[in-house]
């Protein structure tokens, strides 16, 4: 049962990452990120209950409040205020990015077999999915122009790292987790302000325009 929940949640995270690649509406991407974080919280909670590691319940609660509710709400508010709802022109079109992401996923999965724990069982899938999401996140960061999508990509990468930390290792000390969570929320706040500044200056979220600043 535990194994099934873990595998389904991990696979769900991968699906949400791929769907994020496959569409351009910013609101949908933010909702997908929220769903992904929720699945991550379920992974943490399941491990907490099945292995009796109760400190992970705190992690799960933190993940839900911060990453599934607070950050999506803040990002949606930002998008709403600046009134730009779509990723109009990514550097690569959707089918091409999907193809590349397929390759990245296969690569992530293949590499995961190289880890000692990654060759078998649940951790094979957890590491495989996490590596794939990590690669997809990095890919999204370099191919999308809108600052919001890039923030989402960064957060996706963070989710992937968290998945490995929670699912495969014996876990981090609570104080480290708290530190990371506050780091993430601060990063999002600062990036949100930065997005406002970029939009103020260029009347667009297109970060490629930043190169106009060069003298």
């Amino acid at each position: 049962m535990t194994v099934n929940v873990l595998i389904l949640c991990a696979a769900g995270m991968l699906v949400s990452a791929l769907l994020m690649v496959g569409q351009k509406a910013l609101f949908t991407a933010i909702r997908l990120y929220g769903a992904q974080s929720l699945l991550l919280a379920i992974v943490a909670a399941t491990i907490a209950i099945s292995e009796g590691r109760h400190e992970l319940l705190v992690t799960a609660a933190l993940t839900v409040t911060l990453k599934a509710i607070l950050i999506p709400w803040f990002l949606m508010r930002t998008v709403d205020r600046i009134g730009i709802h779509r990723e109009i022109e990514p550097f690569l079109n959707v089918p091409a990015s999907l193809l590349i992401c397929l390759g990245l996923t296969v690569l992530g999965y293949r590499v995961s077999t190289g880890f000692q724990e990654g060759a078998r069982g649940v951790s094979h899938h957890l590491i495989g999915v996490a590596l794939s999401i990590l690669l997809i996140g990095l890919f999204l960061m370099v191919t999308r122009r809108k600052a919001i999508t890039q923030i989402l990509a960064l957060l996706t990468v963070e989710n992937a790292v968290f998945l490995v930390a929670v699912g495969v290792t014996t876990g981090m000390p609570l104080i480290v987790e708290l530190g990371i969570s506050f780091d993430v929320i601060l990063a999002v706040l600062i990036l949100g302000i930065l997005v406002h500044r970029i939009v103020d200056r260029f009347e667009s979220m297109d970060v490629s325009r930043l190169s106009n600043l060069k003298g």
Binding site: I7, L8, V15, G22, P95, L98, T105, Y109, T113, H125
Partner: protein, 315 residues
């Protein structure tokens, strides 16, 4: 030997008849749930049957320029849909005509129906028919490989192309998921939305020329011909949902023909189809219709997911 064959045909007739009887109900139920989400009352649950009865009573109206292809179209479409239902396990963990073929035959039969309808739409030479047919084929050319890949992902796990073997294998291993299951499910769900002409792809409730796909193809039909098309479309929708149930959560299916087991299987099947119908309704109510040129992007996502489901099985 002959007895077995007769038994199989009997079961096939029963199953096809049963599915045909339920199909309009599913369609109306989705309509009703959608209406409820929009704070409307929606049609009565039996509306699908009333509509079919009304259409079947009307006289035939056919264009003077129409040839036999126009007449054959709805009939082949209907026959293909009915034939396809006999290839899928519904209550009992084995399809009635399992010996005839597996998923390849299923996809082929459905493709035959689509081909017949598209050619019939072209036959009268009306611009709408041609437009609908070309749109439908454009999407089908992408959706069909995705459907095949998704089905292959499950076939690979079972080691057989036969749906009956796949379902029995799944029942035997119990609840044990692989990440590829969810990927294939997500891919196939998008395909189901595409193939049944639901909202992100096509709008079943509109006759607006800019957006319609399926409705444009059947615009020329009236009376009993239209009834056949509508009925077959409803049947196809039920068939696709049943296929999803078979491949990803067959728990509760009867492994013997004992009446109790079949009754349990019927309740389990109805419950699972209802849950999937809720998914479809929510997907249809929360999404806006995509521009036609963006539809291939959506279908390519499902193609990607299905491909990945297949690839991950090997890693």
């Amino acid at each position: 030997m002959i007895q077995d064959t007769l038994l199989a045909f009997g079961a096939a007739v029963l199953q096809a008849g049963g599915m045909l009887a339920v199909a309009p109900l599913l369609k109306t139920a989705i309509k009703k749930m959608k209406a409820r989400l929009q704070n409307r009352k929606g049609p009565p649950l039996l509306q699908g049957y009333y509509d079919l009865a009304k259409l079947l009573r009307k006289e035939r109206v056919r264009s003077e320029t129409a040839s036999w292809i126009y007449v054959a179209g709805p009939r082949v479409y209907f026959a293909a849909a009915v034939a396809a239902t006999t290839l899928v396990p519904v209550l009992y963990a084995g399809a009635p005509l399992e010996a005839a073929g597996g998923i390849l035959l299923l996809v082929g039969t459905l493709a035959l129906g689509r081909f017949a309808l598209a050619t019939a739409a072209l036959d009268t030479g009306s611009p709408f028919g041609g437009m609908g047919a070309s749109r439908d084929m454009t999407i089908a050319a992408l959706a069909e490989p995705a459907l095949m890949l998704g089905l292959f992902a499950s076939a690979l796990a079972a080691g057989s192309l036969s749906l009956g073997v796949m379902v029995r294998g799944l029942l035997q291993q119990g609840l044990a998921f692989h990440p590829s299951d969810l990927l294939a499910f997500a891919g196939l769900f998008i395909i189901v939305i595409t193939e049944t002409g639901r909202i992100p792809v096509d709008n079943p409730a509109t006759h607006l020329e800019l957006t319609m796909i399926h409705e444009a193809m059947v615009l020329e039909y009236a009376g009993p011909d239209l009834a056949l098309v509508e009925w077959a479309s409803a049947l196809k929708e039920l068939l696709y949902l049943t296929l999803l149930v078979d491949l990803f959560l067959p728990a509760g299916m009867a492994t013997s023909v004992a009446p109790v087991a079949l009754l349990v299987a019927l309740l389990a099947w109805a419950g699972k189809i209802f849950v999937l119908a809720i998914f479809v309704t929510v997907a249809e109510s929360t999404n806006a219709k995509l521009r036609l040129f963006r539809v291939p992007e959506l279908v390519s996502v499902s193609l990607g997911l299905a491909f990945l489901a297949l690839a991950i099985r090997f890693l």
